[in-house]
Assembly symmetry: C2
Homo-oligomer: 145 residues x 2
């Protein structure tokens, strides 16, 4: 039931958002979010609610990267009807942190979108890795799709 138009439009939102994140463009990324956005992020706490919290988080997070962030998006699946959509993807995040560390990990990403005044906005984002249930409880940062 997902129309080709919705699929393309939501795909463009995800692509544009990823490009802004990659360029560490805070306001560029913020433009994609709905006012009451709820984020379940890689780092604690459990949830981040609202644009101001997310803007602050992005600013701080971008400062920990030296140069651009590479965000490769794979297996994007979009499901939409009318003014609501959700989409899933796997994302490879890599680059160089200011402390010299070079993260290179795959994460799972789910986004919930709402079309507000004719424009798709990200109302919810959930990004995570699984964790190893072997007693170590370590985040599984070495998985590949």
């Amino acid at each position: 039931m997902t129309t080709e138009e919705s699929r393309v439009q939501v795909g463009e939102v995800i692509e544009g958002w990823a490009k802004a994140i990659g360029a560490k463009d805070v306001e560029g990324a913020m433009a994609y979010f709905a006012p009451d956005v709820l984020s379940f992020d890689l780092a604690p706490p459990l949830q981040h609610m609202g644009r101001e919290v997310i803007r602050k988080g992005l600013k701080e997070w971008f400062l920990t990267w030296d140069g651009p962030i590479s965000l490769e998006i794979r297996d994007l699946r979009v499901t939409a009807d009318g003014d609501v959509a959700f989409c899933t993807s796997l994302q490879r995040m890599s680059g160089t942190k200011t402390d010299g560390e070079k993260p290179n990990l795959w994460v799972r990403a789910t986004m919930g979108l709402e079309k507000i005044e004719g424009t798709w906005r990200i109302a919810h984002e959930h990004t995570s890795t699984p964790f190893y249930m072997d007693g170590s409880n370590k985040a599984a940062l070495d998985l590949k799709p």
Copy 2:
């Protein structure tokens, strides 16, 4: 734009699914899933695709619990239009494992739903904890909402 009817119906799906999980009722839980369900779960791998993979995973996971699983759902937010919905919640999972361990953790849960032949089905589930970015990379199992 989310109708009260959709909100109630999706809420009933989440409640019914949680009750089945709590009772370790494999087929009861499976009844809520869409045929091509995609799961981003707490444990590796990155993704689990399709009903058979999820049925096998549930069976194995239920065997690791001694007695019922307590699944408390909080802050359920439903966004729906027509035949597509997504919902978010925080879930406290607790109980006793067969090895005597007593997990008691809060997780974030996102679900994507589709109304198929008049019935809401879970087409996507994403359950996770954040992880500590303090060098330990440990799953944050001690967070509270």
